[in-house]
Symmetry: C2
Subunit: 574 residues, 2 copies
Amino acid sequence: MVDIGAPVNIESFYKFTDDVSNPELFESWKPKIKAYLEDLDKESPAQYKIPEKEVPEDLDEKSFSTIEYLKDTMYLTDSDKKITEMSVVDLAKNITSRKLSSVEVMNSFAHRAIILNQFTNFASQFFIKEAMNTAKLLDEYINNTGNVIGPLHGIPISVKEQIGMAGKITHGGWVAWLDYIPEEDATTIKVLKKLGAVLYVRTNEPQTLMHLDSNNNIIGRTRNPYNSLLSSGGSSGGEGACVGGRGSAIGVGSDIGGSIRAPAAFCGCFGLRPSTRRISTAGGVSSGRGQESVVAVEGPLAHTAKDIDYFMKSYINAGKPWEDDPWCMPMPWREVAKPEPRDVTVAIMYDNGMVKPHAPISRGLKTVEGKLKSSGVKVIKFEPLMIEEAYDVCHQLYTCDGNNAQKEMLKPSGEPLLPLTKWAMSMGNGDKCLSITENRSLNARRDTIRAAYNKYFIEKKVDFVISPTYVGVAPCAIENGIAGPYYWGYTSLWNLLDLPTLVAPTGLYQYPPSDLKDPSYKPRSPIDEIEQNKYIPELFRDAPICLQITGRRYFDEEVVSFGELFEEIMKNKS
Amino acid sequence: MVDIGAPVNIESFYKFTDDVSNPELFESWKPKIKAYLEDLDKESPAQYKIPEKEVPEDLDEKSFSTIEYLKDTMYLTDSDKKITEMSVVDLAKNITSRKLSSVEVMNSFAHRAIILNQFTNFASQFFIKEAMNTAKLLDEYINNTGNVIGPLHGIPISVKEQIGMAGKITHGGWVAWLDYIPEEDATTIKVLKKLGAVLYVRTNEPQTLMHLDSNNNIIGRTRNPYNSLLSSGGSSGGEGACVGGRGSAIGVGSDIGGSIRAPAAFCGCFGLRPSTRRISTAGGVSSGRGQESVVAVEGPLAHTAKDIDYFMKSYINAGKPWEDDPWCMPMPWREVAKPEPRDVTVAIMYDNGMVKPHAPISRGLKTVEGKLKSSGVKVIKFEPLMIEEAYDVCHQLYTCDGNNAQKEMLKPSGEPLLPLTKWAMSMGNGDKCLSITENRSLNARRDTIRAAYNKYFIEKKVDFVISPTYVGVAPCAIENGIAGPYYWGYTSLWNLLDLPTLVAPTGLYQYPPSDLKDPSYKPRSPIDEIEQNKYIPELFRDAPICLQITGRRYFDEEVVSFGELFEEIMKNKS
């Protein structure tokens, strides 16, 4: 039995009182879950699969790197590998110039995604036949007209399952929603289709969509492609594993507390939490209907900052989501050139003062500081600003309806509550429903923090804050995610503030001999203790180290273009 | 005694139960009110005032037109009249080219504003000495440098009193807030000062800021400059009277249910309710702290659509309010050329199906239809869409905190509740505080209506909807506003939908022989009956007829540029 640093007596932290699970009732849902999983299997074409014996039986007991496996495997052709390792920008160029057909591209990604799924369990639904038909039509179109249908013509894009698709079960991780089949595509799906994207897979997420890990009673747990014992993050953990393992060139997740960024960081890719109202969230299944205090967003995960930029530009400028969803703003995605290092000031948050980052994250931040400085970027230290206040306000807001919306979605199936669901339902005041007046007072406190951060950026002339995405690299997630992320403060801060935040890989990986545990550190609080106890250096070997880059509200373009510079600088040898 | 069509048994509609007034406590506040009014008088320089005998004693019993008086009066010089009748754009040109000094301009507006106030009681606070000093400094600046300080250099701008000003009492119409002196300017004030505007007067508003009339226990009632018996509108009624009577070239109001548009319409000028988050509301006194369901906005009132455009462009593009208030979006104000009539499709809302507009409004709409059609604009009829649903959702949202915020602001002074306060506190469920879950459900219903309207614009290819601002022209407002506007549905619809809406004068005025009452009309509901009973043609003679022009969310620029075309077309003889 691996020591995973799971918290002891986690029950003592639970503030929710009303466990709506009902084992007897849940029994009656099991046939529906079975049927759903059978469909998933049926839609995973046999010709793409590797023999079952290739997949270790002890993935949940022993670290396994799917990334390494896919590098070496002979089950993927060289062409498959080449295509699936291309950037979106290059794929688009090759498709536009007809060097690659949409069918070829789709075939390679389908192949890799199916294999990746055998190891990581990232997919909720495949529909590859449908995708191949779409790809054929796209090829016909370009062959007949010489033109692409849109800027995403032929690009295979994975999407988080909670984003509604017409005619397809959309459950969002809630068992009871296995009955729900939307009649209409979500706005994002409409936009992607309009732009020529090829959709072929929907990806896993946690029960309630409120874990920074991805596990539910339908699909189970998604494994990290770098290390099968670790979490792929959540709630867009299926996207993390899929994009991280290059099962898709780019994917769409959603984020209300870190749900794009934790998966991107844990799975070693870029992930953008845009400012609200740039990418539509209409037509998604969630518990957040009508909730406006901390607003969820959708956004992309990809392998380069340039791909993130390409997606955002395509989605917004060509997709015009506001024609379908008036919540989206007709605010064009601006062309912002990669800045000159000397024009940039970065503040680094080494420690937010609440929960100290683990050794690899601290090393990542130090390395970033050094490389940025050598490149000419001005670097200052970010002094923690209202961190505990922000945490308190944000986590109260997550549960301020007394978890009513969540319980209403959980109850009809009686499904058992997973440990991280209990944790999320224990945030703030747990099951205590606040009054509208209290909700407004929290909003007002939030606005005070927003004003303070805005002032910080303006008065200190800081362009970007670089911070940990999470206390550590991907935590362990076996045993129902019990050692998964408990402390969301590093990501949820930026949700509360609604600041655009890009997760970017540093190019560094956890390395036990360098990233020792500091035995003298005294945890500051019970939550700090929980997180510190999880740092068992050997457990995290080779996990990628990724950080957050945050800019001013609606300066998403600047954040992404600095992401390009960051990527370039981090690749420099020095 | 004039028959004003006041509703009978209005008490039967009251849904609030908790009257927080306390006559004894209120007595203790009277000296503070007296001191405040003495300051107002002290700051109204004697040299600008007309002799008291010039002001009729029976302004509240007999119709008096301040507009006509100011046209003819010899107390204003020809130069005063010429300057105060200029557009903002022309004032800016003349100041920039040094044909006019800021001091001259300020002097003329101060003069006219002081006289206008003697008749209409629109002002809460004057600070003309301070303004003259600012104007002098601006003149020195341009004389020394040859440059203006900003696009509003030397433009006298009136602002609604609830917008906080450093060092000045800011009460928002609540007696208890006579003790509140902000330390910092509101963002809007900072922006205006930065752009070179000259501030010299703050304007009246109603108790609670929730009447479409302007009356409170501090300043009393503001009269309509066209007819002293009528309402100047509300809650930015002081702005309506001030701008309508050209006591300022342009003014800033705020709007959560019609509060910019009713005053603009009643006082015969343009008024823009922008989409949310383009103009800052930070630093204003209101009961809306943390309320995000129907969001208040600030916006300009002026005499031409071009002036509205000039203000918005200056405020947003040069003012960059987001540097002070992160709620504001860094979304530039776009240059949008006045459209060609043949490229425009307008849908006219003749009647929303709930409360039928009075005769002059119907005539206005018919005339507009004719003139637009002759000019080549495509005109269709707007078929009422979810009107009752929108009214229900919006009016529940106004009071969903059980009026808690209002009562907390009213209670410390014990001030008596005015009739329209009681009416506003009776909207929706009155004193019944809803749960957070109910609030979210109302938000979700709101979002459904928003989606339906967005679809309407897109699918019908409608550019703008033209609708009544209110059931009638300005209603009578003597006797504490008891015959003032009760039905907000024509304006509040656009707040709920967050659609940019410009009030524009038609150039027409109520004329009793043309605008007869239809004696055969059977009211559809009690609220319809209340509003229909108020139509007493003789009472409204010469009141301006102004309508609303509404466009798609964040297409504010298109709305204003069509406003220019509308203005031009309505001036055509035909």
